[in-house]
């Protein structure tokens, strides 16, 4: 394992440590979505996945 991998690992670890308390806050305070709300997210996400498959076929 070279110093670049160690540096990358420390960088990712620092990001996790920094983001973790924010994640707990977000989970605690974020409003809950209903089925209709989630469908509003799933539809564009499905379009993105379809578009990426199209891009992969083009390359």
């Amino acid at each position: 394992m070279d110093w670049l991998q160690i540096g990358s690992a420390l960088f990712l670890l620092a990001m996790i440590v920094f983001i973790f308390p924010r994640m707990r806050e977000a989970v605690k305070h974020a409003p809950k979505g209903n089925m209709n709300d989630w469908m509003g997210f799933i539809i564009p996400l499905a379009a993105v996945i379809g578009f990426i498959i199209l891009l992969i076929q083009m390359v």
Binding site: L4, G7, I16, I19, A30, P31, G33, D37, F41, A47
Partner: protein
């Protein structure tokens, strides 16, 4: 009657303020994306190594966490944002050099694909005016899971896991773009410098993940 006029006046003021944040965000985002692209080109011309790339990315993220929140409410926030996006662009240089050497069309496709996804998702959030604030917790949990998986993969060195992480990043960043755009529309984000920084990071991550997926499934990874 007076109360009704006052409420309408407030509502109009709120819409104007939202439109101003949106306009400033997209203007600043386009400028930072161009600047970041120029810095990536400079880094590629200088043939920067992965060490410099890692260091510039660490400095950029440190500035994003500790300097930008303190300067975002003043004019000093704009040069700080340009410094962050420039350093992140510089950090892309070694990776872009590798992809361009293998298959230049992948970089063009990933760039175009990122643009189409960003414009499509922003357009969706702007036209439907849906409130995506309910996704905050889900996106943050997803981000931590992806970071843990990416950290594990540094030691495990599993190509399949790398692809799963990239796929998850594409989905998370798509969610982030919807969440952030909706946050601007509904008044959750009123600072255009912070809004630009969040959207820039989402676009950058989306581009990198898309590059990885296209190169892997294009058979050139």
């Amino acid at each position: 009657m007076n109360d009704q006029n006052l409420a309408m006046g407030r509502s109009e003021a709120s819409i104007l303020a939202t439109n101003k944040v949106l306009k400033n965000t997209y203007l600043l985002l386009s400028m930072t994306l161009v600047f970041s692209g120029v810095m990536a080109f400079v880094g590629m011309s200088m043939n920067l190594g992965h060490g410099v790339s890692l260091i510039s990315s660490i400095i950029a993220i440190a500035m994003l966490w500790f300097v930008l929140p303190r300067t975002a409410n003043s004019s000093a926030g704009i040069p700080v944002l340009f410094a962050i996006t420039g350093l992140l662009g510089l950090g892309l240089a070694p990776m872009l050099n590798i992809y361009l050497a293998v298959n230049p069309s992948i970089v063009q496709t990933a760039l175009g694909g990122t643009g189409v996804i960003f414009l499509g998702l922003s357009g969706y959030a702007l036209t439907t005016r849906k409130d995506f604030s309910f996704m905050g917790g889900f996106l943050m949990v997803g981000l931590v899971v992806v970071l843990v998986a990416a950290l594990a993969n540094i030691f495990l060195q599993m190509p399949v896991m790398g692809l799963v992480v990239s796929g998850a990043i594409v989905m998370l960043m798509s969610g982030m773009i919807l969440y952030q755009t909706s946050s601007i529309i509904h008044g959750g984000e009123t600072n255009y410098i912070m809004a630009t920084a969040s959207l820039f990071i989402s676009i950058l991550n989306l581009f990198q993940a898309l590059l990885h997926l296209l190169s892997a499934f294009g058979g050139d990874d």
